[in-house]
């Protein structure tokens, strides 16, 4: 049984609530990047590249047919972007495609990272989410 998306989001919100200011929250975000399920170097290709970011970001999605869930891996050459990718992957990893498609990210507001969601922000968080949902739609 996988933990529901909302529960994972709640968990993240609770963790971030432990930090008193934006600086420690960013430091925590950057640390989260170290826990991202790593993508192989040979998978860092255009096929997995998220476009619309100043930095390079790759996210690979694989469908686990037995369990009916999506497995995500990723990386970025920028630490904040990698942290954001890790955050999103943590919420969506090992979820069924239909759940990934419907996931919302309102919790970003609560952890003070909402500003990154604007499509004008060049870290491509919105593009990452869009591409992950797009992959999910291929299996839904």
């Amino acid at each position: 049984m996988t933990v529901a998306v909302d529960d994972r989001a709640r968990e993240i919100v609770d963790e971030f609530a432990l930090f008193p200011d934006w600086m420690s929250r960013y430091e925590y975000l950057i640390e989260m990047g170290d826990d991202i399920p790593p993508i192989d170097d040979e998978d860092k290709t255009d096929a997995h590249r998220i476009h619309g970011c100043q930095s390079k970001v790759w996210i690979r999605a694989d469908y686990d047919e037995d369990r009916g869930v999506l497995m995500f891996r990723g990386d970025s050459n920028a630490k904040i972007t990698r942290g954001l990718a890790a955050l999103i992957i943590r919420v969506l990893n090992e979820q069924p495609p239909a759940v990934v498609q419907k996931a919302d990210f309102d919790f970003l507001d609560e952890i003070g990272m909402r500003e990154h969601l604007s499509s004008q922000r060049s870290n491509g968080l919105a593009a990452m989410i869009e591409q992950m949902k797009d992959r999910a739609s291929q299996y839904a």
Partner: protein
């Protein structure tokens, strides 16, 4: 501590800052704005903001065709703005000042008019440090007309190779199109020498002056270029308005750009005769309000003491450059001997985007990325830079805030 000479007292930066309301704000809680993204766009003085407001509140009407009082007033104000810009760049006559939407449109206007006389095999010479606005319009001509684009290299410190430029000129060269001041590196190119080189061989020159007009008045006659392009929004004016200056014979030789109202003398279904300059190149209702406010901006900038502005900006650049060098793993990108107040930086082990994001949270507005000069970034082997660009209204305190923030950011990220 740095040993750069103190700013002379003749330039009262604290007083000048009072003119810019946007400089007085907090961008996050308890975090005042330190605006160092001036190469992208400048802030606007109260007088420019008021001018826009006044135009729309009490003068708004269409220009050049009304018999009524309001229209005459607006026409006068619009043409006075042209005169203010003429004076700012020391053009010989107001007809040589064409209002456009900005640098980009000015260059595209030239590409679409002057470009019509180019044939397959003709050559246009540009440089490795051009903004995309001075690359893509020529590539489009290459694709439609079969012209060739030649790119003059730069050195690692960002200096244009003049010998290579000279060697690039051939019998087929129809235009040299160069940036005056590089927005990504700050390099000031010797445009007068470049014009001489080209004119010796009868080749016209376009200068992209987007980054020079923000630093004070220029003299297009002394520079001698055939075309000089710039944007209002980088010199304290509004967005959406810019200028194409041209040598008279050159402008007169151009075919019309867009067809429509205002650019004609007489229209029948058989034949149309065109208006004289400058209107021939300004089809349709122009951007009246922004042009008028650009005139105000030009007057505002012209009233600043140019020498004092120059000294102040040079001091800011020298001071900031020296101070940022103390930051571990930071490299200044663009170290030409002759530089404007643009400070591009790269980090050994950090992505400029990460550093810029932390700086933003600390209230420091800088730009990260390729600065619309992707070929230049490829040439330098960089994913992008973090660029702090100083205006005359910035202070050493701003530079100190930048350095403090860079120290915080690099510590957080390492």
């Amino acid at each position: 501590m740095p040993t750069t000479a103190p700013t002379p007292a003749t330039f009262d930066v604290d007083r000048v800052r009072q003119d810019f309301p946007a400089l007085r704000q907090e961008v996050y809680e308890d975090t005042p704005l330190v605006y160092l993204d001036n190469a992208a766009t400048s802030q606007k003085p109260e007088s420019v903001i008021d001018r826009l407001n006044r135009y729309y509140r009490s003068e708004n009407s269409n220009v050049h065709r009304g018999v009524h009082r309001l229209s005459q007033n607006a026409t006068d104000a619009y043409e006075e703005a042209r005169e203010a810009v003429r004076s700012y760049i020391n053009a010989a006559a107001t007809e040589q000042v064409i209002f456009t939407g900005g640098t980009t449109e000015s260059i595209n206007l030239v590409a679409n008019t002057y470009g019509q006389r180019l044939e397959a095999g003709d050559e246009i010479v540009i440089t490795e440090m051009e903004h995309h606005a001075n690359i893509v319009p020529w590539q489009m001509l290459r694709d439609t007309r079969g012209i060739r684009l030649k790119v003059v290299p730069i050195s690692d410190d960002g200096v244009l190779d003049l010998d290579a430029l000279n060697d690039a000129l051939t019998d087929r060269t129809r235009l040299v199109s160069v940036v005056h001041i590089s927005n990504a590196l700050g390099t000031v190119n010797p445009v007068e020498d470049i014009v001489d080189l080209a004119h010796d061989r009868g080749i016209p020159v376009l200068v992209d002056g987007a980054q020079s007009v923000p630093h004070g008045p220029i003299d297009v006659q002394r520079i001698g270029a055939d075309f000089y392009c710039f944007s209002g929004h980088k010199m304290c004016g509004p967005t959406g308005i810019g200028v194409l200056y041209g040598r008279r014979e050159m402008l007169e030789s151009l075919p019309p750009y867009q067809g429509g109202g205002d650019m004609i003398e007489e229209v029948t279904f058989e034949k149309t005769t065109y208006a004289d300059l400058p209107h021939r190149l300004e089809a349709g209702t122009p951007n009246i309000a922004d042009a008028i406010a650009l005139g105000t901006a030009a007057r505002y900038m012209e009233e600043l003491d140019p020498e004092a502005v120059g000294t102040h900006e040079a001091d800011l650049l020298a001071y900031a450059t020296e101070r940022v060098r103390s930051i571990d793993g930071l490299r200044v990108i663009g170290t030409a001997p002759n530089k404007a107040s643009v400070l591009s930086m790269a980090f050994e082990d950090l992505h400029p985007y990460d550093v810029g994001t932390i700086l933003d949270r600390l209230g420091i507005a800088v730009r990260t990325g390729h600065h619309c000069t992707q070929p230049l970034m490829q040439r330098l082997g960089l994913p992008g830079t973090l660029r702090a660009s100083f205006a005359f209204y910035n202070t050493r305190d701003d530079a100190d805030a930048l350095v403090d923030a860079l120290e915080t950011a690099t510590t957080m990220l390492r």
